[in-house]
Amino acid sequence: MITFKDVWLWQEMRPVIKGVSLNINLSEKVAILGPSGSGKTTILKLILGLLVPDSGQVLFDNIDLAALKEDKLDKIRLQFSIVFQEGALFDSLTVRENVAFYFREHTSFDFGQINEQVDLLLRTVDLQSAAELMPEKLSGGMKRRVAIARSLAVSGAQMFLYDEPTSGLDPVNADIIRGLICDAATNGKGFIIVTHEIFDALSMASRFMFLKDGQILFDGVKDTFLNSQVPQLMEFLHPYKYILDKL
């Protein structure tokens, strides 16, 4: 269980997260929506302990992340697996080496076993043929798929975190990514997807949060989300109103 208790975070002399409180079970499928710059990615980084709140607490199973030393924090981080925006692949490593990253760092697998696992993961994302390419040779969609393959390698992960996984992708690639995200969320594993793509969120998540200016203005299920009377959320949904009504 992830818990935020009145979390505040300041960056560059301005608050980016303002008094956020929430509870998320690791098996939940959560979408955090909001316009650019509303603090969505920051929420993910707080969950992983990559950022420390200026006040309030971020708890994982009632353990305050800010109180933990880095090695203890690493163990908690491995309960999650994150796909950053644009994939964040390591430039100096091939696709195969990127996907093998977790196995090399955290397992005692030999070279053959690692290759076997990597081939399996690359087959899952349909990128076997790109195994020896460098990230710079990949398209945006391929990079995200490699990043997803790398995240799937984290065997102990109970929850996946996705930062704008489909932004900037063509519809076909976006659909492939959505499929991979849903496939990964099996055996009680949940995900948090941070996005401003409303249809991505609606097609994958069961719980919706709306974040604006560092504040959570809405937290609920699909029906209440679409019919919310929160003015900022209504404004956010307005451009999609026509299509949503048809749906």
């Binding site: 880095e70 690493d74 981080r77 491995l78 950053f84 990253f101």
Partner: protein
């Protein structure tokens, strides 16, 4: 002021954990080899050219001063002492800061911007141990090695001018060089490049990892690391010289 204090605190932590990173598993040996290859062989040609030319220039200056005084026999000694104690460590530290240090800063700044450092941490990997430790030890091994080679190259550059242009006896030159290879000069020659290598690597890593904002951030990280490294190297050069003279008067 608070920002400076936090930055200094982060720098000391980086130095501490960067050095301690060499103890305990995992050891990133292949990463160290990559860094050594970039810092050493990659800089060798520039180091050879620079030190050879500096050695030649220095010998012209010294010979012109000593010629009229009949002190030609002391030319090798003066060139040797200047090169080993001061000129080579400083020249190569500046070359190293420009070629290797700025590169480290720009590379790490790029990794910060592309969220690769966050990815390391999210995957439970310590970026200091993985990225900083190999760079520190790469510099600690390669800058002294380059300086050692550079000392000889500069002395050969000096011999080239002394014997070929000014027709001084080469035996005289080399015997006066041999006479200065004592403990004090060895300490100067060894201590300085070690300290400079450590400073350049840690400052460059620190600046790179704390960089912010787009392509301007990369540019500013590279520039800042070079400026900070050179100033720090100069100041530490003075301090090391002072300390060695206190202990070996």
């Amino acid at each position: 002021m608070k920002r400076l204090f936090l930055s200094l605190k982060a720098f000391y932590k980086l130095c501490f954990w960067g050095l301690l990173g060499v103890f305990g598993k995992p050891l990133y040996v292949s990463e160290l080899v990559v860094q050594m290859n970039h810092a050493g062989p990659g800089t060798l040609v520039i180091a050879l050219i620079t030190t050879f030319v500096v050695g030649m220039a220095l010998s012209i200056q010294v010979l012109n001063q000593f010629e009229g005084l009949g002190l030609e026999s002391e030319v090798g000694r003066v060139i040797g002492v200047s090169v080993i104690r001061e000129i080579c460590p400083i020249t190569l530290a500046l070359v190293f800061a420009g070629r290797v240090g700025s590169g480290i800063s720009a590379e790490l700044a790029g990794m910060v911007q592309r969220e690769q450092i966050d990815t390391f941490r999210a995957f439970g990997v310590n970026p200091i141990k993985k990225l900083v430790t190999p760079r520190i030890f790469g510099a600690l091994i390669m800058l002294p090695s380059l300086t050692f080679i550079g000392d000889y190259t500069a002395i050969i550059g000096g011999a080239f001018i002394t014997t070929l242009q000014y027709h001084t006896d080469s035996q005289l030159y080399w015997s006066s060089i041999r006479s200065i290879l004592d403990l004090k000069n060895t300490i100067f020659g060894v201590v300085k490049p070690f300290v400079f290598g450590f400073l350049i690597a840690t400052i460059s890593c620190h600046v790179g990892l704390r960089s912010q904002g787009g392509s301007l951030g990369l540019k500013s990280a590279a520039t800042k690391s070079y400026v900070l490294s050179t100033v720090t190297v100069m100041i530490s050069d003075f301090l090391i010289t002072k300390v060695i003279w206190i202990f070996f008067p």
